[in-house]
Amino acid sequence: MSEPTQTPLVKPLKIAIIGNPNVGKSTIFNQLTGLSQKIGNYPGVTVDKKTGVMHHQGSTYEIIDLPGTYSLYPNSEDEIIAHRVLNQLTEQERPDFVLMILDSMQVSRGLFLATQLIDLGLNLALVLNMADMAEKQQLEIKGFELYKALGVPILHTDARGAKGIEQIRDLIHQKNFSKPTEFLPVGEYIDAQSLTDVKEKFEIQSDYQAYQILRFGPKDKGISIEKREWLQQKTAQLGLNLDAAQLEETKLRYEKINSIVDQALVKKEIKERKSSAIDKLILHPVLGYALFGIILLVIFQAIFAWASVPMDLIDGFFGDLSGWVSSSLPEGPLASLIADGIIPGIGGVVIFIPQIAMLFGFLAILEDTGYMSRVVFLMDRWMRPFGLHGKSIVPLVSGVACAIPGVMAARNIGNWKEKIITIMVTPLMSCSARLPVYIILIGLVIPDETVLGFVNMQALALLALYLLGVVGVLITAFGMKYILKTEEKSFLMVELPSYRTPRWKDVVITMYNKSKTFVMEAGKVILAISVILWVLGSYGPPSKMEEIRVTAEQRLSTATSEEEIATIETETSSLLLENSFIGIMGRAIEPAIRPLGYDWKIGIALITSFAAREVFVSTIATIYSIGGDLEDDSTIREKMNAQINANTGTKTFDLPTSLSLMVFYAFAMQCMSTLAVVYRETKGWKWPLIQTVYMTVLAYVSALITYQIFS
């Protein structure tokens, strides 16, 4: 959106890459652009806009990676984007050339899209990728025959082995694209005369483009309402049956393609693919699920074991940084804002990177090997009764580590309703941030004893909390299935690609891009909320706060031992928090949380842990003036155990209250980072707000029931 005056004299040429899913399109894009990729947004949809820069022989080219699609019929958001960009309805997106990637093993399906592109009148070149696979399968593709039939330049590549990438660069550099004549004249399935007005109205040349606009334009929000209405009237006025025309087009197109493929493809030998043997194990009705369980276990084990190292480092680094800032800057609100508001806020964003990167690394490997589609195949039957899709399994499973990558992974689900339900329920899975809260409360009230000879009570309680999350997911999803309405029909139709070794470069780029997206887009919201929480937590009515400080100074001036000073300091920070705005809020909500068994001190912890659930532990430590080493749970536990609830006169953290708290944390949306990611993925505040309200109500009611049963 730069001003015309700022536009450089020579704008880089734009090349769009398009192809069916699983054809190695992204690998080629990665090879051409490396890490010079940018992820942006298309207006109005959640699809990422991936662009990159390619340098070749002193020239610069802008490469756009369009989402994978089987046709130009816009069924999903991905396809809407491909449709919109290639129909060149918005000047800004218009590519100069289109590079289409085909799978050498599935030429006819690829040609379906390719010939649609030809008919749109685009400047096109084709890349027959995975040439190695075709060779192994004894499949010979006569490129020249294809060229003769289509009139488009054709390259053979093997992107996995990085073969042919130089040729692609050369082809782009030499602008070796061509705009052939129509493949399937529109006149064969619709009265071409009727399109004249459309062509005039939209100032376009190609019949096929006019037909596409007439067919799909009325539903395309990228077109002005006036034009959409005009299209609807036009269709009615002409009395066209466009559904029938589309079916006829598909049939004729494939007929014509098949006659070309018969000429151009020679299959020398029928060989059983090795996929069949592996599928017998992977898709086995019992072993298949067992294997999936084992793979998940290994992944989570790895994430917990490996991610904790960088996470501790990040935590330590930001802790030190904030300590350094507060000691080297002159004391005052600015130092406090930087040290206690902004630095922990940034730290709170960065801390998620190891988990996000690792989870997406594993997901990319599973996706790339062809295993993920098999999981979708196995799980679809189990997900569907709950209004979810086979693809929902990935977000839900990721949610056990962290809801953030889970919600981010939901974008692969094409159907709007299934995607929203998945995003809504994923944060109910028990994530790793709940673990510290669970562990401290379980240690407090559940005896460390074995029942039935081998079952540890504490382990059992932890398992019950995880299952509670799963039950919450299933019930919520089931309910939402009946509430949300959509005209979109849910369908599976997923390809089970042949097994392959993962492409490590692509895996690394995925990890990098996902982390970057999270930091750039969700990071802003997280930082903003952190600062707000800091303000509320460190400021209160000035006179009261001043009074606490003065008293503390007086006591400190008479203090005699190190120990006494430490005690006074912890007591003061406790008093300051109690009298801050958050403290006031904690007191204000006390009437509401009293039926759950909480006092206002717990209320404060509920509010502060909105930053992240594990903050519960540190707030409790501050509020109960627990000094010393916070890493040592037993100190906190002892102090907590000694607390007396002012309302009831009994122990604050007795069994009913602790259970009620655990249930509350299992369900409540106590995570601003998840909120920020849901905001990003749904492109608005509607769903994150609904989600927060829903989860809070669910947590409240469940905790209330729990408390009332056990007290």
């Binding site: 019929y73 898709l283 679809d380 039957r381 139709m493």
Partner: protein, 73 residues
């Protein structure tokens, strides 16, 4: 008969596709009259069915397979 009733490892030729909003999706994937499909695998409890079509394996829900009218080979 329809493709959801095809026994495992058996092949059939697609005769026609029933009218449905999903008809076009099936066709664009290559499920076309005259094509041969082979049942590669079936997920438990009436789960999705994986068909071999040309060189690829495509998974369909049972309800989607039921749209394909087939002649068993």
């Amino acid at each position: 008969m329809t493709a959801d009733k095809l026994p495992i490892s058996k092949s059939a030729i697609i005769q026609s596709i029933a009218d449905s909003p999903l008809k076009i999706n099936l066709m664009e994937l290559g499920f076309l009259p005259g094509k041969t499909i082979t049942l590669h695998h079936i997920a438990p409890l009436s789960g999705p069915m994986a068909f071999k079509l040309d060189e690829t394996i495509l998974a369909l829900r049972k309800s989607e397979a039921a749209l394909l009218d087939i002649q068993i080979l």
